[in-house]
């Protein structure tokens, strides 16, 4: 009974997370329909207002409508997060599987992964942006690098384990080629841990991208990202706390939702893989 209740609570938490994510997705897809104002529209007369019937979340220091900017900000958040996830998972799989399967390659690749992981993620991202310059694509590349190494590390460990499993040996003895074993038998078994990893990557990459925006080295300031909004509004927080509050709440909600869903997914994961995820770090 207790276990049943517990799983029910967990399902509710996962449901709450999913609903939040669905809302954010709708906001991103239908931004022009949901937004009440032009997110870029300047209106100096109505600057730094509190929430009202016309401006639900108030206005910023240029008189722009915060609600509309938050709605459009969802687009950037999802595009950025998806970019990091796709890029880090794709290369993470490639490096991780090959390292796990071919020992010599793995030895070299994992040392490199160790080295990259010994640099603080944000500092590494900053260094890359110093070289590449700001902009969404460069932010995705810079932030994704760190998550790529984490994914590669996890996939490497799992592949090592899978390689020794009886079924892989059976297939090999039937004369299957390496490529076939990798593509048809190892990769499909990595799917569920990969989905968990993707969820956590999404959550933590959002925090990092918001941090870069806040530091003023992310996407260009005129683009309404949640991090940019807080960064620009920070000097006005005493006059209009809405500039700080609303974009921030949306960042927290989105990250929290991904974390909640990720936690439940991980707990329901194949127990053989569960211990790989105890140390998910930003």
């Amino acid at each position: 009974m207790r276990i049943f209740l517990l799983s029910l609570v967990k399902r509710k938490i996962a449901l709450a997370g999913t609903i939040i994510l669905a809302v954010i997705l709708v906001m991103a897809l239908f931004s022009p329909l949901i937004a009440t104002h032009d997110p870029m529209g300047l209106n100096p007369i109505e600057r730094l207002q509190g929430p009202s019937a016309t401006h639900w979340f108030g206005t910023d220091h240029f008189g722009r409508d915060i609600f509309s900017r938050v709605v459009y900000g969802a687009r950037l958040t999802l595009v950025g997060g998806t970019g990091v996830v796709l890029y880090s998972i794709l290369f993470g799989i490639l490096i991780g599987v090959l390292s796990g399967y071919y020992r010599q390659f793995g030895f070299v690749a994992m040392r490199l992964v160790d080295v990259v992981m010994s640099f603080p993620a944000l500092l590494l991202a900053l260094a890359f942006i110093a070289i590449l310059g700001p902009g969404l694509l460069n932010v995705i590349i810079a932030v994704g690098l760190n998550f790529l190494t984490r994914t590669a590390r996890i996939i490497f460990g799992l592949t090592l384990k899978l390689k020794e499993e009886a079924f892989v040996e059976a297939i090999r003895s039937l004369g299957a080629s390496n490529l076939r074993i990798l593509a048809r038998h190892i990769l499909p078994n990595l799917m569920s841990p990969l989905i968990v990893q993707a969820t956590f990557t999404f959550a933590f990459s959002l925090l990092q991208m918001a941090s870069l925006d806040f530091l003023g080295v992310g996407v260009p300031p005129q683009i309404p990202s949640w991090g940019n909004m807080i960064s620009e509004g920070r000097i006005y927080i005493t006059r209009a706390p809405g500039v700080l509050l609303f974009p921030g709440i949306f960042i927290v909600l989105t990250v929290l939702a991904f974390n909640l869903v990720g936690d439940v997914l991980r707990d329901n994961l194949d127990p053989r893989f569960r211990d790989q995820f105890t140390g998910v770090r930003r």
């Binding site: 603080p120 500092l123 260094a127 110093a130 806040f214 003023g216 700080l244 927290v252 105890t278």
Partner: protein, 315 residues
């Protein structure tokens, strides 16, 4: 045991070498001429040429690496392009705040994270556990800068209890009271990291609670306190200690944000300023120093293992 220590010492050497190569190549990944990029659009061709030969950019790449690496081993990280001072000097001038913040935040993380994690695990699934777990999940999902700005708004602006920004040097003024400038930054920096330690301590305690030797200890009739502290806590500490190294890296990233939020003149702020100024030698220097510090922390953790894990101690 000595074997173990020597082994971990030796294994840091290749990592350090690779890290140096990576940091060195960062500078050379830049599209175009590094000297031109550093000086910006307003520089004359003569200035660019002068910087190029001063930095040795006209030499073959391996010569450049050798020079840079050899200099670095002797503590010469080159000169800052913006400050016209040695990189190490520039970093040292900013070190006070960052070291204070790092130390106090780490203390705060350990003092809050481990006990709360233990309590959560001991009272598994109770209201206390759920509150702690929920709160730590929330704290881990919060952007550091947002938390910092909110704390600043509440405690400095509205309540007026603590200063909102800046930090007058303790060493120059001799006034320990200046440390109150660091209360909000430390809490900001500690919160998300502490949350992760809570989650980890709880998870590893729960894992150990399932072990056979815990059942044995209970069956022997030991009191619950002895079982928890001596058998469960001690053994779960091993996996917690291994994460402290990661926490250190998390702190280094966090200082960048926290120092920006609270306008503190520290190393983290220096990184951001250097990125905006394209002062590459400084960026290189800081990143490499932090990577080295991380390796040292990991070495220290390895030594801690030898005390915590009897299997290593005896072999």
């Amino acid at each position: 045991m000595l074997n173990h220590v020597v082994k971990s010492l030796l294994s840091t050497i290749p990592t350090f070498l690779l890290a140096s190569v990576l940091v060195f190549s960062l500078m050379h990944l830049m599209p175009g001429d590094p000297a031109g990029v550093m000086l910006g659009d307003t520089a004359t061709p003569e200035q660019v040429q002068a910087l190029r030969s001063a930095m040795g950019f006209d030499k073959p790449i391996y010569v450049q690496f050798y020079r840079w690496f050899a200099g670095m081993l002797q503590g010469d990280f080159g000169n800052s392009i913006f400050f016209h001072k040695p990189v190490l000097q520039v970093i040292w001038d900013r070190a006070e705040v960052s070291l204070f913040i790092a130390f106090w935040s780490m203390a705060l993380i350990l003092v809050t994270g481990i006990p709360i994690g233990v309590i959560s695990a001991v009272w598994y699934n109770s209201l206390t556990d759920q509150t702690c777990s929920g709160a730590s999940m929330l704290a881990a999902s919060m952007p550091t800068f947002w938390l910092g700005l909110n704390l600043m708004l509440i405690f400095s602006v509205v309540l007026g209890w603590l200063p909102s920004s800046g930090f007058p040097s303790v060493f120059e003024s001799g006034n320990l009271g200046n440390l109150r400038y660091l209360v909000l930054p430390c809490v900001t920096l500690a919160a998300p990291n502490s949350a992760l330690i809570i989650r980890l301590t709880r998870a590893s305690m729960l894992d150990v609670l399932k072990e056979g030797y815990v059942t044995t200890a209970r069956a022997k009739g030991l009191s619950e306190v002895v079982v928890t502290m001596k058998h469960v806590f001690r053994n779960s500490l091993i996996s917690v200690v291994s994460v402290v190294g990661f926490t250190f890296v998390g702190l280094a990233s966090g200082t960048v944000i926290t120092e920006t939020v609270f306008s503190l003149p520290g190393i983290g702020r220096l990184v951001v300023e250097s990125v905006l100024r394209r002062d590459y030698p400084v960026i290189q220097g800081i990143i490499l120093l932090i990577a080295v510090a991380y390796m040292l922390v990991n070495l220290a953790i390895d030594f801690c293992y030898t005390f915590l894990d009897p299997r290593i101690r005896i072999s």
